[in-house]
Amino acid sequence: MNTTVQELKEPVPTPAANTKMRSVNIVVPVTTRLPAKIWLAVPLVTAIAFVIHLWAAKNQPAVETNSYSVFLEIVFGISLLIAGVQLFCPPVRRWMQHMCPIMAAAILLLSLWEAITSGLRWLPMPYFPGPPGVLQSLITDRARLFDSTWHSLFLLLSGYALGVAVALVTGVCIGWFAPARYWGMPLLKVVGPIPATAWVPLAMVVSPSAMFSAVGLIALAVWFPVTMLTASGISNTKASYLDVARTLGASPAYLIFRVAIPAAMPNIFIGLFMGLGASFLTLVVAETVGVNSGLGWYVSWAQGWAEYGKVYAALVIMAAFFSTIMTVLFKVRDRVLVWQKGVIKW
């Protein structure tokens, strides 16, 4: 029986292969020449988008649609340029093979959006501007958008950092010390599930400034999932790791910081991701109701002026902003949890 277990084990990789660990990935065979349908996809689709744009924009003022034409032309130019570079540079070829289909699809979606809105006018006009209008808003109002993004980033990071710092302390205490669990767990279970946004009225009353209350609310939103997952990760540390450490002469500090916390790391990261999602939501709500800056505020402000192009411009920025932060957290996770097998890719 033992021997079959041995045989079923994956072969031991060489040390060289160990130094760089990769997670499961779709293996794309890399050919020496890219098929035309791959490298032509983006230029072709861009050309189609251009035609649709000319047709859809024929009854709109040129100032509003010109930047989108320029944008498409630039995409067209770059895609041809990269198709040329790819002939001499294999990494670029690999990247293209992976990215071309999805980028072509994205551009097609843009044209579909334009066709439905400014072209066919299927959707009520002022509320649903086409891509040219949104791009134009992005360009004309860039200073204010930049400023708002900056404010949002500041709020988000301060709230998130505060929430995580407090949550790690409370989570480790609740997970490790029995008295802390006895008194802390009920509090966590009762207070934690209240959405942070429900505290908005109270926060406005007790806090000296809207800024403070926003940071506090975001921290609260992050605190609950991170505490919960940290506590459960710590209290579920495999007893035999702790036993081994004790027989190696470990002090209580070693058991907490070098055994329980590393063992809980995968759980802690789940909490960090949940907390990040909650913090985005809370950020936008807090900015909308109290703080007079930031992307959340910008959306409601632009809506007040019925400038829907700007609303969508802010949404585009938000999407890029939030997914960048998410990606950064995934990168940190991959770095910290290299020791884990087959982590999920973002």
Partner: protein
């Protein structure tokens, strides 16, 4: 050179609450007494559930007996300590540390890493894993992981090494090689060793004495000294004869008990 210390287990009793009934107790160890000299290698064998692991955990200080005492040399055992190393059947390497850091962890835990860093390389060579120092445990085969676990336990130079079926999960070839490695270390260091095994050949090949335990309640049935000369031949007539005798005893012990099951 003898790093080992004598171990004395005096009338130890240990029971546990049964999982399905709070009132009832499982008697894991009943009046167990055993003395092991410094530098001796003793094997514990016996059917599953006879309290071998419980006895090892008590010796390691991870559990406390209901009554009775355990002594290391002149000191009574009150809790876990780096002078008593324990290797489990499952290597239990810390998966978040590389091979090197796993082996170092005993030094880190005692704040001795600066002082004794050179020994880490020594142990890595000893167990033949220099080329894997930066690999993470999930990249290792079962035999390699067990060797790392052994090195990790040895780096603190324990006076007593407790081995709970450390080679149980290995295939026959790796197991025999590891037995020789453990013997080599034992002879070089003079560490006192208490080895739990299910493999009678292993017990005869390795130990100075074999202690046979029986379950319900867990207690020591008898002790058999092994006086064969070292290095031992696994297929010598004396070896095979001893093996036959022990098998007979165990069979006998097994039959007498099986009626109770």
């Amino acid at each position: 050179m003898t790093e080992g210390a004598s171990l004395r287990i005096a009338s130890v009793n240990k029971d546990f609450a049964k999982a399905n009934d709070v009132e009832a107790r499982t008697i894991a160890l009943h009046d167990v007494s055993l003395s092991i000299a410094a530098g001796e290698l003793v094997s514990l064998i016996g059917p599953s559930g006879c309290g071998k692991s419980t006895l090892l955990r008590l010796t390691a200080g991870l559990d406390t007996p209901n009554s009775g005492e355990l002594w290391i040399g002149p000191e009574m055992i009150t809790g876990p300590n780096a002078e008593r190393g324990l290797v489990f059947q499952d290597p239990n390497l810390f998966p978040w540390l590389t091979v090197r850091r796993n082996i170092e962890s005993g030094l880190v835990a005692r704040g001795k890493l600066q002082e004794k860093r050179h020994e880490v390389d020594e142990f890595m060579r000893l167990v033949g894993l220099e080329t894997f120092e930066n690999a993470y445990p999930h990249h290792l085969s079962g035999g390699m992981a067990q060797r790392v676990a052994l090195a990790r336990a040895l780096i603190n130079h324990p006076k007593v090494l407790l081995l709970d079926e450390p080679l149980g999960a290995l295939d026959a070839f790796t197991r025999m090689r590891m037995q020789d490695e453990v013997l080599r270390l034992w002879q070089a260091r003079g560490t006192t060793m208490l080895l739990v095994t299910h493999d009678i050949d292993e017990a005869i090949y390795m130990s100075d004495r074999i202690v046979i335990m029986t379950p319900r309640p867990g207690r020591i049935e008898r002790t058999i000294p092994i006086t064969l000369e070292r290095p031992r031949q696994r297929n010598s007539p004396e070896f095979l004869q001893l093996r036959g005798e022990i098998l007979e005893m165990l069979h006998f012990a097994g039959e007498a008990r099986s009626a109770e099951v």
